[in-house]
Symmetry: D2
């Protein structure tokens, strides 16, 4: 039976669902020296304020205790599940992202070493792994079996896109006697996890469903930066540098790099800022026009004429208004995007040909090469800490929520809030301003 | 004439000094399309709250408007210096840190492209470069001359440790007609910058002194993470991995790695969390004992007997209580630390020899190799954004302050606050808890 | 006036053309301490045997002195050009390859420091740079201007494909008073260099034309390994690893990587051997069939069914017999290849669809990202040594030849020999045998 | 019973010992398609000539068939051991070197997949693993257990220095029913392997002892380059670059880097050539003096005065004549070297202090960090091919020999020849000449 949102949370959309009253966290007490660690337990009533600016707080006009905020992550003095009887499961869903194996390993280690949970089950190939007709076996995950997995990119559990019937999934959870389910996936997968949690609640089961949100695009609200993002933009900046080398090595050379970013230009913006030599950055948040003296093509032509070369970085979701939209969605429910990369290559080529300028265009699309690399040390640490936070949340009975870092605090975010909208680059904020200053491109192409 | 702290700041230690009333920022208006960028100017009255937890805010018992907070960074609608008449200078002080060249390049680019400042002067070899008797020339810095400098680590301006007479420095600033001085350096250098600002004020000059705080140890208060820190701990984790490979390749092998961290164990903690295989992490914040069954040596012996090897990571400032202190300080005023690395190597060797266990100890001290690498892409972006923030602050007439990122916001921090104490790893916080869980070491060696 | 092939060379195709009698190499004598370096001069009559196996030598049935061999590289006691009056030019042609900037820098340094040549001219954008109608300026190259260029990939001189009129080129060389021309380029460019040398000879000029052969495909005969090759296959192995991670992370995942190698499968073979996890390697030297039980498609299907995934590496020139040939050639005279990558992707997809197996194919084409990286340390050293050898050859009056390393000796190879055929992977040799053992693929798909 | 050297070998020191007459290699015939691979078998009578220069061959004055040469590596049509009854063992000895795990994995794969040998035993911790009193277990090595080991540096088998009683070792081989022993180690270990082979012969056993020579110093005669060397000097060049950054970042900065190279300066020479910015390279092959105007110290002082900084690279075995020799040897029989690094640091510091020049010396000793890295892709491929060659040699009954690459051919080298002397940098050869040109240092310091 899922309890109602806790009354202490003044903002309904940030109330965390819990499974019920909790018991004293005795395993922690056994494991750790009480006299030194007792201060570490997180206070059940604390919260991290959503808005920490003076303007934000005074605008509310409410007492401080009623300001909207989020629960901090961490071990609770009282936990809900008895570790000795707890069985956990882990599933990874959607496209690859650096750090998946670090998260899996971190979950297994924290469950085993911190809480002494005895059985952790890995579900194979995303939500498909719950569905008998696919015929995927489950695997046992132990500290030994996950010891070296983070050396490689990808996910040792496999992944898949698309939804599966929540009833079949909960049937499987019941068959496997799973009490705690960790879902690592994007917003489509989190919507799937919400359906699982709803089915769990309908059946009156006591299964916590906790998410570790995954998006290489860094577009999750209430979260500073998604895991794998730093690794991704670091490799993306190498692709831009390669394009720049190609462009500068030929007369009138043009490099065109398509980067990840369906709805948000974070990877394109950060990669371009990392001394990569981009002349133009195009992101979904800032529409652009091609034609006319104020358009992208004329700007590029002037750059090439002035400097002898130009490098364009385009996020995959940019310029969709220039393409005919495809109304269909893919298996995960994501809208299909038109492919802006080849389109731009063609339009740029035609423009220079029409202008009688011999040019050479190199087009680089490093997507898969970036998604599949192992996490860099920063993301590796971040994944460990996220997975520790997720285990603490699940063991305390939280459900239908994800863990994340908000303004440097690890916090609990209700799944409904985490999928409510997307983080985007603020076209008036300092990140985009920094990009404009770095590239010298105009505020708008139109 | 330096004005008094602005009355809007409720917390005296976080009031920002400014040089005087400002003029409308016309160069920005010329440079950028007003209709799109006008929202970007930072509101003079906004602030970022220091404590964003419910507990923190209610404990104050004051109206929200009086909660302590910091000024956000960014371009102001009104600036103090007329860019056409502004001459800027940059000096880098103290030990090397990844990102120094990125900061220099970012300052030059923002001054030149955003504000159209015409002359930026580089001071050679730290504060020595201001003092005629050292005979160092100054250099002109232009976007062209700094174009590729960030490819290399170190600082193209050179650096030095130690103080110089503030009167000689201000004499030099006057001779060079400098209005805006950027000091990139550690807390010793910031204390020097405060003396420069004081001398400037005494003479009634209008010279803004703005700092970009540099510490590879990540120990600056009010700042999330110092530039170069991620690059540093990434390389440090390679050193731990090397030690682990050596340790596991011989019977009873022990790897001992000394990392940076005079007063703070951040590098040791993060590097150890980055799947590096450390068995024990020792940091300045957590004293440890060597002898007895609860001591480090017995723990190591047990680890080696159980697993055949062990890896110890020690921050340079850890365990100082075990060494005879040296009362002297170095040229920058930093206390001289005893060298814990060789001391531990000897004590561990003796302990195993006494126990009749043949062992092999590999000692790795990667300090200089880490300090001299170029910034990784994350730090590179961070340095660009810090330098943009520093330029905006200086042009608006702020002085005696540093820029930093606090809970993901770029903020102004008064120099006095930035040197008031050190950030340290909280022995009861989740970072150290994560380290303990990762290494499996006891909460205390005693 | 170009002299006839030297009579000491028994094998006509390996005789080196020289410009005429040489003078004593006095600059060397000045520069270096004679008593220690005198042994270093290369003996004019020595040679490195072409075939160093017993079988090879006895099969000839000639006295040892008549066995075919090549001149060793190195400084000669007698040189042809007076360094004080020598003007050198450098041109880079064709596609990018790691190490171009190292070669340029090495040529400039050796000409300047070793021989004290006072002027080295860089020709911009390949052979186009000689032709006035393109309007490219020449640049002066000095040790200072080339100091840091090798940090970046590409070529600071720019490059272009395609031939230019040799008369226009020699006109330009005469205008610039160039005595020594270094051409860095592929076999098309070397054919161009031969036309330049022929025109030089027709006009009775004394201009040495020396090549540093460039091919990322490692297909130059008489040369162990071309510069940039190790860097290239190292990065190529990363692409294979990425494909493997993608393939293993989904049910029935297939990774398909297209690598460089128009006529030779060296990059594909070496990259696959470098613990990259390829299941099948396809190279131009070994034709393959798709259909039938012995064909590639059935093999892949079996692999996927047994192991759950498969990774295919295909050199761009492989399987051309499966595609309709394009009779045209590109600007450099290279035959246009059909694009085997997308073709295979389609055929594999159709095959699995027909077999009713749901699969996921990731296609990676890392070509430009590989061509544009800086040389790794090995290639960097190799480029330095090649450029030193090229300068020694040119100063001694050799012409119409290239430098290379043959069985670990730096040797002179006549241009005619260097373009006479291509190095290819021997389908019966130990390299290909090692690939077959590593992948477990059958000896033939048919 | 070990047979006499085969009469076909004209040079006694290069005759390969074999265990006896061989049988037809039927497993190969089963495994591989005969019609295509039959040409791959190596001809028993072929050889690779030791000297492939005209001067070298004519100087002998003997028929070509009597010129000294080495057996090429590769599969033989006739093998000695019946794979179905063969049991192989692998031991790794001495210090770490990049590529050890690649060699182990390559041996296991070739034995298992190519020859279908059913049992491969790993001996733990070097020769100690054979001696019961050390109590180390043996481990079974399978393709599955070695699948990912090469991702890490070091050796999964562990290693140790020093000799063990050959009788105890052969007792152990007999107990384990080992027919084929692979020893991966340096020259001390190869001398140990010769004692094992001698004991095997005395007892009339049929155990092949084949070595894969390991030396990070690249000092094995008859071998182009030892495995791990390229990886090692690549990382060493990073250390030099770090020293250079430190040196150039301070006034009168001096960087001092000690690199591996007990008797040979290959690592120092190659690392210095790889655009690392060294001003002086010191190697064991070229003695140097410190004092006087022609000495190292005065040269450094002039460099610092001219350029403001200097970087010195010293191989660990250089300048031993300046130190008091230690007559003792370490456990492996290697002479103990005096530590030239700290000695030079002190002498340089004193010299500058005496000259009244304030300086800053950074000393970097990256030894362990270099030895423990994984092999780069080139070395990874090389290790695979060496291990394949070693297996072919052992299965054909060769013994008391090592495999290596000589002038780009994989060859068999008798152990006695491989330990007969050391490869060294020729002070009159083109490698050292390239270093002198690159650093601009004088031919001699004296």
């Amino acid at each position: 039976m899922v309890t109602l949102p806790r009354s202490a949370s003044p903002s309904p959309d940030l109330a965390i669902s819990t499974l019920g009253p909790a018991r004293i966290a005795s395993p922690l007490a056994e494991l750790l020296d009480n006299s030194r660690t007792s201060e570490h337990y997180v206070d059940e009533d604390d919260k991290v304020l959503l808005d920490d600016t003076l303007a934000g707080i005074t605008a509310r006009g409410v007492p401080a205790s009623e300001l909207p905020g989020m629960e901090p992550c961490g071990p609770r003095r009282r936990i809900f599940f008895d570790p000795a009887k707890t069985r956990a499961a882990v599933v990874t869903c959607g496209g690859l992202c650096p750090g998946l194996n670090d998260v899996i390993a971190g979950l297994v280690r924290t469950l085993t070493y911190h809480y002494r949970v005895r059985r952790v089950i890995g579900i194979r190939n995303g939500y498909q792994g719950f569905v008998p007709s696919y015929g995927h076996d489950v695997v046992d995950l132990t500290p030994e079996s996950v010891r070296d997995i983070a050396t490689d990119g990808g996910t040792v559990l496999g992944t898949s896109r698309g939804h599966q019937d929540p009833d079949e999934i909960v049937d499987c959870l019941e068959r496997l006697h799973v009490n705690v389910l960790f879902v690592v996936g994007g917003d489509g997968s989190m919507r799937g996890a919400m359906r699982i949690a709803a089915t769990v609640a309908e059946r009156g089961l006591m299964i916590a469903v906790v998410g570790i949100p995954k998006t290489i695009d860094n577009d999750i609200p209430y979260i500073d930066q998604s895991f794998g993002f730093q690794t991704a933009f670091s490799h993306a900046s190498d692709a831009i540098r390669a394009a720049r080398v190609e462009a500068t090595s030929t007369a009138n050379g043009i490099g065109l790099v398509k980067l990840m970013g369906r709805h948000s230009g974070f990877i394109a913006s950060y990669a371009a800022l990392a001394r990569s030599g981009a002349d133009v950055v195009l992101i979904p948040e800032v529409p652009f026009g091609l034609e006319g003296e104020g358009g992208l093509l004329a700007h590029l032509r002037r750059r090439v004429q002035e400097r002898g070369h130009a490098v364009v970085v385009v996020a995959e979701g940019a310029g969709q208004e220039l393409l005919g939209h495809d109304p269909d969605a893919d298996a995960s429910g994501n809208a299909r995007l038109g492919d802006i990369g080849p389109y731009l290559r063609r339009r740029i080529g035609d423009h220079f040909a029409d202008a009688g300028i011999e040019t050479s265009i190199r087009y680089i699309d490093p997507s898969y090469a970036i998604r599949s690399v192992p996490a860099n040390p920063y993301d590796s640490v971040y994944c460990v800490r996220l997975s520790q936070a997720a285990v603490h949340a699940a063991m305390s009975g939280r459900t239908e929520m994800v863990v994340g870092r908000y303004r440097r605090r690890f916090v609990h975010v209700p799944m409904a809030a985490a999928v409510s909208r997307r983080n985007q680059v603020d076209p008036h904020g300092d990140l985009w301003m920094a990009v404009l200053e770095s590239t010298g491109q105009p505020v708008a192409f139109a």
